[in-house]
Symmetry: C2
């Protein structure tokens, strides 16, 4: 036996665009990986790289010290944790369950409670930074749960992200991500309306950007998404349907907290209108611009 610590075994559930990049960084860093995904084909690169295939979330959990989930919607989170072949039915006592999906704070609290009753610990740790952030291991990770569990998980987070911040008790990571999405929602209306106004007024929107993006009107969305709007590029960086999912969670959560978020409510209604158009929900969020034409 050497003095070197053995790295914990990781179960990784959800090999989508984000999950694939995140899991491959872990594999490259020397972590043993057990993976599950609804569609096995998406895991093939990882399996070729040494990851072990599992037939259910519970199987991956039973082999792991740390279980990471990165799935789609809260209903998927619910299923992989609480389902018959789910994580909570099979996780080892002492293991750490980390949901990195953007999901509801309330669900994060429920997972945390149930994990405790199994002798496990849970963290909610949604990310921002998108597919590029995942690929470049530069995700921003917002973490809720027990502080000790955060410390234990930190070296693993550092393989996938850069700006890793502990936000507080269970659910706080999800709440922080909601605060993030709430800020984006109204900003997107402002960016679309600003650019469409400039165009209708006969100005060159690129020249307008030169005037306004470095000042008080500046935002990530203005600098990164307005140029795509102007160029008619509506390819998804971040899908309309996923943004609507997030806004739904945020609105529901805001309502529970007694907060009337009118900008957010308007933004969601506009995005729903957009999603109702053919192909609308599979476009990038910058397609909101088309609604103003």
């Amino acid at each position: 036996m050497t003095a070197q610590h053995k790295k914990p075994e990781i179960g990784f559930i959800g090999i989508g665009v984000m999950g694939r990049s995140m899991a491959s960084h872990l594999l490259e860093d020397g972590y043993g990986l057990s993976v599950f995904n609804r569609t096995k084909a998406k895991a093939e690169d990882l399996l070729a790289g040494g990851a072990v295939w599992c037939e259910a979330p519970g199987e991956a959990a039973s082999r792991a010290d740390i279980v990471i989930t990165m799935v789609g919607y809260p209903r998927d989170v619910e299923e992989v944790y609480f389902g018959a072949e789910g994580i909570l039915a099979s996780c080892r006592s002492g293991s750490l369950l980390v949901d990195m999906t953007t999901s509801s704070p309330e669900l994060a609290e429920r997972i945390n409670d149930k994990a405790k009753s199994k002798g496990c610990t849970a963290l909610d740790a949604p990310v921002s930074g998108g597919d590029i952030g995942a690929r470049e291991a530069k995700l921003s990770i917002m973490v809720g749960g027990e502080a000790e569990a955060f410390e234990r998980m930190l070296p693993v987070f550092q393989v996938m992200g850069k700006n890793i911040v502990y936000q507080g008790k269970a659910g706080s990571g999800q709440h922080c991500k909601m605060a993030n999405q709430i800020a984006i929602a109204s900003t997107m209306m402002g960016v679309c309306e600003s650019i469409r106004y400039a165009e209708e007024a006969g100005l060159d929107p690129q020249t307008v950007l030169r005037s306004i993006e470095s000042g008080a009107a500046g935002s990530w969305s203005l600098s990164n998404l307005a140029p795509r709007m102007i160029n008619g590029d509506f390819e998804p960086g971040f899908f309309v349907k996923h943004f609507i999912k997030d806004m739904n969670i945020a609105l529901e959560s805001a309502e529970k907290l007694g907060l009337e978020a009118r900008g957010l409510a308007l933004a969601r209604s506009l995005y729903e209108e957009l999603a109702g158009e053919e192909g609308g929900e599979d476009r990038g969020t910058q397609a909101l611009y088309t609604l103003y034409r």
Copy 2:
């Protein structure tokens, strides 16, 4: 006679917080200055520095090669240009009339037409950057009018600002400023709702900022105004009443252009609600936050 060009004489009308800084930069740079302001006391520093006091806008215009106006509302712009003792009644043929007030694009076009009929040239050149930008001569200046007039004015603009961009024909500077305000309006709702959500969810909003301000939720408003909201500092950088003025112009102008700017309309209605509270209109725009409490 030397080869050195004599600097043009400048008439400066409107010595408020912004105008005072701008005019003093011109004076320090060696321009001859004739000034008018409704309240003479505000011009005293400039007069002590060598500026000449005038009893009316027209008197300042009659002494100047270049007339700069920096007043409050479109009705003030209207008065200083079209009033009985206004600029257009007394300006010298060949002079350059530059309105740097944030005002309506339509009024800028009317000034331009009338100036032409007097053998003069007009520019609309509103700014962003606020009192600090004015003090540090770092204003962003958005310019509409004839390109030759822009070139002639550029050395003067450079004494007051940094990011000086020609946007197109008469009215384009004002339109660009409206695009700027439109982007800010909805972003402000997003920032307030995000911070209030974080607080209601029991998170530390400063810690939330650490997670979100450098990513896709980032904006000038989030980085610069959210900290003031959190600290309960609602002192005016930019007055609520002036922002409402700008949003009114923007909405009227958007309507004429056939653009339904729903985020902007909602933001204006919220700011009007805020202005209806005691002292509300004299607070800084970040006071929108208080409406969500």
